[in-house]
Symmetry: C2
Subunit: 102 residues, 2 copies
């Protein structure tokens, strides 16, 4: 049960009615990760119970790669667009142990 | 933003001290999914904050495939072994929208 991979599970709460707009920005972020080898997963989910609750599931080869993804002009611009839509963000701190796709 | 995939995110709370044993059984379940084409992800994670909290991230091609995975003798045997370790399970009902790995 040893892995050095880094998981980021974040539950975003958008301001009322802004869930879909937030999801669109996060899907753009996911697209940018497609060419990043260290990004193994970047999945955007919407809650079945609340359309303003968006979950992002990220898996990175290590934490440094994840942290690096938040640097740079493009990331900063995306964060600036997303911030006004976000009422709260609740990270789930997890260590991936293994399994299919991990 | 259309996908018919089925996500199952479940937060298991094990009885005190039983988190690792539960994770081992879930990792066995993940191994069984390796040959199942309709199972795209089956990742077992442990909470960084509580070793008795185990998160499973599943992504299936559709809900029927997920439901079918819980049928059969092998699944039943695994569930019987896991049940005594589990204090609670909290599913997060999500609809995957897309992204890398989805």
């Amino acid at each position: 049960m040893k892995m050095s991979k880094f998981a980021a599970y974040v539950k975003f709460k958008a301001h009322p009615g802004k869930g879909e707009a937030l999801a669109e920005i996060l899907l753009e972020a996911a697209e940018q990760c497609r060419t990043v080898e260290d990004c193994e997963l970047y999945i955007v989910n919407i809650s079945e119970e609340d359309p303003d609750t968006i979950w992002v599931t990220e898996l990175w080869s290590d934490q440094a790669a994840h942290d690096a993804s938040l640097q740079g002009e493009e990331a900063a611009a995306m964060i600036r667009r997303a911030m006004p839509l976000i009422a709260g963000a609740e990270p789930v701190r997890l260590k991936p142990l293994g399994g299919k796709g991990a």
